[in-house]
């Protein structure tokens, strides 16, 4: 068994050491370049020389050596470990929070609640999210108190000693229910619909009247968690001179700095945000989570404080992908040419706005698909529900609508007995096509890509409406 651990022989000749120095070099600094750079701009529709080249990552070697330092790999002298008490109830009024017993525990250094936070609201667009819930709980993952203790285990035990009394309210869980005006507001008195977008082009009703057939389809997608392998982690260190350094897995540190400044009520110049290598983001680490609470714990204790999310917290206390309810109505000619399309999207925004506005816009703009549609009416709503908040995730709503419009196209092709490839070729964008919002598109290769893909994997275009599936 001993032989399995390869350990270097101690005596090494100079040449080997020189070679080792070369092999084990840290990523080399790029040579200095003077501006302006001469950049090779490829012709439109031409492949760039970069495609097909193999490139190694600058940090690839350190990753392989296990030397990359993520936040959880950092340690500072005297550091405390923090844990967040989660509400565990979807909607409730907080009657009281009793932290006395937790504070009395040996090893617990400080406990804070929402009342300790100078300005208890933040968010990338709407400032609707509390750092720690103080009066109302809007979803089960809401933090209600934060504990700093000498070990993670003591902090976790202290959470059980915190007594929170709730007046449990009926939660709004269905986005379609939330859409109705008579449904009680999640953030009353504010309305549940907190974002709305309409894209209108031509006359859809007229197009439907002229259509050979009108198809309807309803599609739903589910909530998706980013599941980065590295959970959210933060270390906050408050200086005696009133400045705070925050090491965080945050992807957008400038935005995070503004949010931390707002919640702590101190100027941005007193906040130093340090981002290191992130172990996966996918959009889930685009806004602050517990950073202000940790900063305050550090201020209260005078020691560095670290908090790493547990895997369950990753799922219920960080943002997720928006579930969408997508209703499509499309009028086509006998040949499958789309004359008009009407779309309604309902985005389940969860408890807080987060990046919903971006998602709403992108989902709505892309909801018609890469097709030339003269008459279009696309309407999108994003509503509050008492569920885990939804926010940024790869594509911002684009994957959800893609699933809907492409499924819808397949349904139409099958009903009209047209090859699914042909119906797309008939309607797809071309060079110079106008997007639903009037953008003139360039470098459009939808048809070429479709044909090339069909050829590569042997799609049988026999025009029987079943495509390759009909090949027996």
């Amino acid at each position: 068994m001993e032989k399995k651990t390869d350990v270097a022989p101690k005596a090494t000749p100079l040449e080997t050491l020189q070679e080792a120095d070369q092999i084990l070099r840290v990523p080399a600094l790029a040579p200095l370049v003077t501006y302006p750079l001469e950049v090779l701009v490829p012709e439109a529709r031409q492949q760039t020389p970069a495609v097909g080249q193999r490139a190694t990552r600058a940090d690839g070697r350190l990753h392989g050596l296990g030397q990359t330092k993520y936040i959880d790999d950092w340690y500072f002298p005297g550091m405390l470990y923090a844990k967040i008490k989660r509400a565990g109830v979807a909607s409730a009024r907080i009657k009281s929070i009793d932290t006395k017993e937790a504070e009395a525990m040996p090893g617990v250094v400080a406990v804070i609640t929402g009342k300790d936070i100078p300005c208890n609201s933040f968010g990338p667009s709407l400032k609707d999210q509390p750092v720690l819930a103080d009066t109302r709980v809007f979803h089960a993952g809401d933090g209600v108190a934060a504990v700093a203790a000498v070990t993670e285990q003591i902090a976790a035990e202290a959470l059980d000693k915190i007594k929170v009394e709730y007046e449990v309210l009926t939660p709004v869980l269905d986005p379609l229910e939330s859409l109705k005006l008579e449904t009680p507001g999640v953030h009353a008195p504010n309305a549940n619909i907190y974002g709305h977008k309409v894209i209108k082009k031509g006359d859809v009703e007229k197009a439907f009247a002229e259509s050979y057939q009108v198809f309807e389809g309803s599609f739903r997608t589910q909530m998706v968690e980013h599941v980065p392998l590295e959970p959210h982690a933060t270390i906050a260190m408050w200086d005696p001179n009133g400045r705070v350094s925050i090491y965080s897995t945050l992807g957008r540190i400038t935005l995070g700095r503004a949010d931390v400044a707002r919640t702590l009520g101190i100027p941005m110049s007193r906040i130093r945000m340090i981002a290191t290598i992130v172990g996966g983001n996918f959009g889930g680490k685009n806004e602050i989570t517990t950073e202000p609470a940790l900063a305050l714990l550090s201020k209260k204790t005078g020691r560095p404080v670290k908090c790493t999310f547990t895997r369950p917290e990753e799922f219920y206390a960080s943002t997720t992908r928006h579930p969408l309810i997508m209703d499509y109505k499309t009028g086509v000619t006998k040949e499958g040419k789309i004359l008009g399309r009407k779309i309604r999207l309902v985005l389940d925004g969860g408890a807080y706005c987060s990046w919903s506005e971006t998602t709403l816009g992108k989902a709505c703009i892309l909801s018609a698909g890469p097709y030339n549609i003269e008459n279009l009416y696309a309407e999108a709503f994003v509503v509050y529900t008492n569920k885990t908040m939804t926010g940024a995730m790869r594509g911002f709503g684009a994957p959800q609508v893609c699933f809907a419009y492409e499924s819808h196209m397949d349904d139409i092709a099958i009903a009209l007995n047209i090859d699914p490839l042909d119906i797309r070729l008939l309607n797809a964008f071309e060079e110079g096509s106008l997007s639903p919002t009037g953008q003139k598109l360039q470098s459009v290769v939808v048809k070429e890509s479709l044909l090339q893909a069909a050829q590569r994997f042997g799609w049988n275009t026999n025009g029987n409406g079943k495509g390759n599936g009909a090949k027996s």
Partner: protein, 162 residues
């Protein structure tokens, strides 16, 4: 507190830890070997994989006391003082790690596989990586890199697979 002595990366090291301490916590917090990562703490993700007496182990599920007197290899012991392990070299060349968080675990699983089976087939490699989750790169490039490393370790030319 209990005293645990392990032979880690060829060096005998001792730490005094609370009895509930996992091997992962001991490696990271007491021995400052932060290569193995804490991803899920329940043995699902494999970011904490280390080799104990030649077998891969989710170190978050093994108590430090269970490792007492045993031989542990972590990612820090994979490269020698003057050379990268062929796996580390091929993982770098083939861009098999993106964010890198799963990397130490994947490399240890691959190392244990190649120790047992110098000529693994693709299904063998898939089996060996069955306990390691990756969220960025995907597994194709890892499998490719492991094949290249296996060939290099057998002394064959490391040409690209078809």
């Amino acid at each position: 507190m209990i005293t645990v002595t392990i032979n880690v990366n060829g060096e005998k090291r001792t730490a005094s830890v609370p009895p509930e301490t996992s091997l992962l916590r001991m490696l990271r917090d007491n021995l400052n070997l932060t290569g193995a990562k804490l991803g899920c703490d329940v043995g699902d993700c494999g970011a904490c994989t280390v080799i104990v007496d030649g077998k891969t182990v989710n170190s978050c599920l093994m108590l430090a006391a269970q490792a007492d007197g045993r031989t542990v290899l972590t990612i820090e012991g994979l490269a020698t003082a003057d050379r990268l392990h062929p796996l580390q070299k091929s993982f770098e060349n083939y861009g098999s790690l993106q964010c890198g968080f799963c990397g130490p675990g994947v490399l240890m699983s691959a190392k244990a596989l190649l120790d047992e089976n110098p000529s693994p087939t693709v299904p063998d490699i898939r089996d060996a990586l069955g306990g390691n989750l990756c969220r960025c790169t995907g597994y194709t490039k890892m499998i490719e890199a492991i094949q290249v490393a296996a060939r290099a370790m057998r002394g064959e030319p490391a040409e690209k697979t078809a």
